[in-house]
């Protein structure tokens, strides 16, 4: 970090800022604003009363705030059951993903008879698979239809993460394992007690990757889940957006004369669904870049 900073300073001493710098920063700033605006707009709609929104459909600052849309969302039971399903899928799924990936990556970093065959068999699945219907039939045959496991077990291992993880293990000095072996520890013990703590940053990185993927789960839910009580949050959101009637049925509020604002409710549901990612995002920063670059850039 210090090196790049000093290089930057040296470069800026060599050359003063000019028009081109302004244009570049301007372009990138505009791009960033274009990324942000839809989210900002989403937040605004979710907290604006319908009357205000109709009168002033594009606003930069809300003139009037209301919690009505969020109240409608939170009084909807489907949101809560969906949240509970998604939380379970995310926790169990991430645990399952990371355990499988770490164990396999560690084992594939060593040599023993048959290893080449295993690697070949794994890589083959990157090129070819059964496809949608064979998978659908398999889930049925395994008795996993309409169960949470249908959204967890098929996710297993992401091969790119597996390969990055394996590369990371390769950089840990072998002497550590050897000395532990002399002390009589077996490979599994060595992995969990000695190697994993050293690889913690990488493990955290992939916990985040997997965690976000599981949180975003909806597709397998759409294919395999039939009962409403087992639908993940994202699928509930999809239903709300496709058919706002599903969420407008908050009787207590309508009796109290609080009218629903369909767009506001939809956008409030969007925010509830993306909230965990939004909150964790700034803290994830330092991790997620390392996972992407560790495997790709040859040092």
């Amino acid at each position: 970090m210090a090196q790049t900073a000093s290089a930057g300073r040296r470069r800026s001493e060599l050359k003063r800022l000019n028009l081109a710098d302004g244009l570049i920063v301007g372009f990138l700033a505009l791009f960033s604003l274009l990324i942000l605006y839809p989210f900002y707009n989403t937040i605004l709609i979710s907290v604006t009363p319908q009357v205000t929104y109709i009168r002033e459909p594009f606003m930069l600052f809300p003139k009037e705030l209301t919690g009505v849309s969020f109240r409608y969302v939170f009084e909807n039971k489907a949101i809560w059951t969906g949240m509970w399903v998604t939380v379970r899928v995310t926790v169990l799924g991430t645990l399952y993903n990371i355990l499988l990936t770490v164990m396999m990556a560690y084992a594939l970093n060593h040599d023993y008879p048959g290893k080449k065959f295993f690697v070949g068999a794994i890589l083959f699945t990157m090129y070819f698979g059964g496809g949608l219907i064979p998978m659908y039939i398999l889930i049925g045959d395994l008795g996993m239809m309409n169960t949470l496991s249908s959204m967890i077990l098929p996710t297993g291992i992401n091969i790119s993460y597996l390969m990055v993880m394996r590369k990371y293990f390769r950089n840990i000095p072998e002497e550590l394992e050897e000395s532990a072996k002399i002390d009589g520890a077996n490979d599994i013990l060595i992995m969990f007690r000695i190697i994993l703590p050293l690889a913690l940053p990488m493990v955290v990185t992939f916990v985040i990757y997997y965690g976000v993927e599981r949180w975003n789960e909806w597709y397998q839910g759409m294919l395999y889940i039939k009962s409403a009580s087992r639908m993940p949050l994202q699928l509930i959101l999809r239903n709300i957006v496709a058919n706002s009637n599903t969420i407008l049925a908050s009787e207590s509020m309508q009796e109290a004369g609080i009218l629903p604002f369909a767009d506001g409710i939809k956008m409030a549901a969007v925010i509830v669904t993306m909230l965990p990612v939004m909150i964790l995002y700034p803290f994830m920063q330092k991790y997620f870049v390392s996972g992407l670059t560790a495997g790709a850039v040859k040092g």
Binding site: T4, A7, R10, S12, L14, D21, I24, V25, L28, A29, F31, S32, L34, I35, L36, P38, F39, N41, T42, P57, F58, L100, M103, M104, Y106, A107, Y112, P113, F118, A121, T125, M126, Y127, F128, G129, G130, G131, L132, I133, P134, M135, I137, L138, L153, P154, G156, L162, D187, I188, W218, Q234, R238, V241, M267, V270, T273, M274, V277, L292, A296
Partner: protein
């Protein structure tokens, strides 16, 4: 010891014993492998037995194995379907648009980011631009519907400036562009990271020397930054072209509607539709999947071969 002659039985025995000893010595490694291998066996190889459906007429009561063989009838049926060819045409068109525009954009972004000298500003802009990558297409499509819907923010602006309302989501002319720009919006920032990391590994003294020699910004980009990232751009390009049969399944599935099937229905969504929305004909759906899988695998392997020839290294 490089004896090529047939090993004597005694030697064979020694070798076998050595192999068994080697396996026993690594028994815990195999144990570590078991869960992962089980996963690949069940969920990656397991479905492959269902591929036979491509040559069968699926009957639910008979199961996969018991269903009747029909030879190439499913494929013959498919090749006469206009919707199938439409899906292929859309897949290639949309993927082609992505390769032409969504692929180079992050490269441009990375080069521009590298020209920003204020580290704080650069960081903030990068953090902002990678954010949409972490959200699902369900969330993003909800936001897009709200923005571009008939009564959405964009149309309200159009009207406010005296224009005519546009039906962005149902227009055959616009839909593919909506796909393209929403993809650029979601993934460009994320795809920039790889290129940024490559650029940051370029020797900084090259820039200083060039500046002292009087090279301007454009010359520095052309002669230092671009050559430094060329090999990784080649690799990602080959990989993207190899995956041309994929035009964004989740994105299309969440964004499209019947009025844009003609321009938006790609192979993956076609398979999904004929399986779950029309009267299900598993044999035909599997045949489409099979067709896509084989073409895809052939393209990926060619991409791998091209990459090996160009750089001496595989992609994966």
């Amino acid at each position: 010891m490089t004896v090529k002659a047939q090993p004597s039985p005694a030697r064979k025995g020694v070798r076998l014993r050595r192999l068994l000893r080697e396996i026993w010595r690594n028994r815990f490694m195999y144990l570590l492998l078991v869960p992962g291998l089980l996963y690949f066996a069940v969920f990656c190889y397991g479905p492959m037995y269902g591929i036979q459906l491509a040559w069968k007429e699926f009957a639910a009561n008979a199961g996969v194995v018991g269903s009747r063989w029909v030879g190439w009838a499913n494929f013959a049926f498919l090749f006469k379907e206009a919707e199938f060819w439409n899906a292929i045409r859309n897949t290639l068109t949309i993927a082609g648009m992505q390769i032409a525009l969504a692929f180079p954009f992050p490269i441009l972004l990375a080069i521009l980011f590298n020209e920003v000298w204020q580290p704080g500003l650069k960081r903030v802009m990068q953090i902002v631009s990678t954010f949409p990558h972490f959200l699902s297409w369900v969330i993003l499509s909800s936001i897009i519907f709200n923005l571009f819907g008939n009564a959405g923010t964009v149309n309200n602006m159009v009207v406010a400036f005296g224009g005519q309302k546009l039906n962005f989501l149902m227009s055959k002319e616009i839909f593919r562009w909506l796909l393209l720009f929403s993809l650029i919006w979601k993934e460009s920032g994320w795809n920039t990271i790889l290129y940024m990391a490559t650029i940051s590994s370029i020797d900084q003294s090259l820039y200083e020397a060039a500046t002292i020699d009087g090279a301007n910004r454009f010359q520095r980009i052309v002669h230092i930054t671009w050559p430094g990232m060329q090999s990784i751009v080649t690799a990602t390009f080959i990989l993207r072209v190899g995956m041309i049969m994929n035009a964004g399944y989740m994105q299309v599935l969440t964004l499209y509607n019947p009025s844009v099937y003609e321009v938006g229905d790609i192979l993956d969504t076609y398979i999904y539709r004929i399986t779950f929305q029309k009267a299900p004909k598993y044999g035909i759906s599997t045949a489409v999947g099979m067709f896509k899988g084989v073409v895809n695998a052939a393209l990926m392997l060619s991409a791998e071969a091209v990459s090996r020839r160009l750089s001496g290294e595989g992609l994966l």
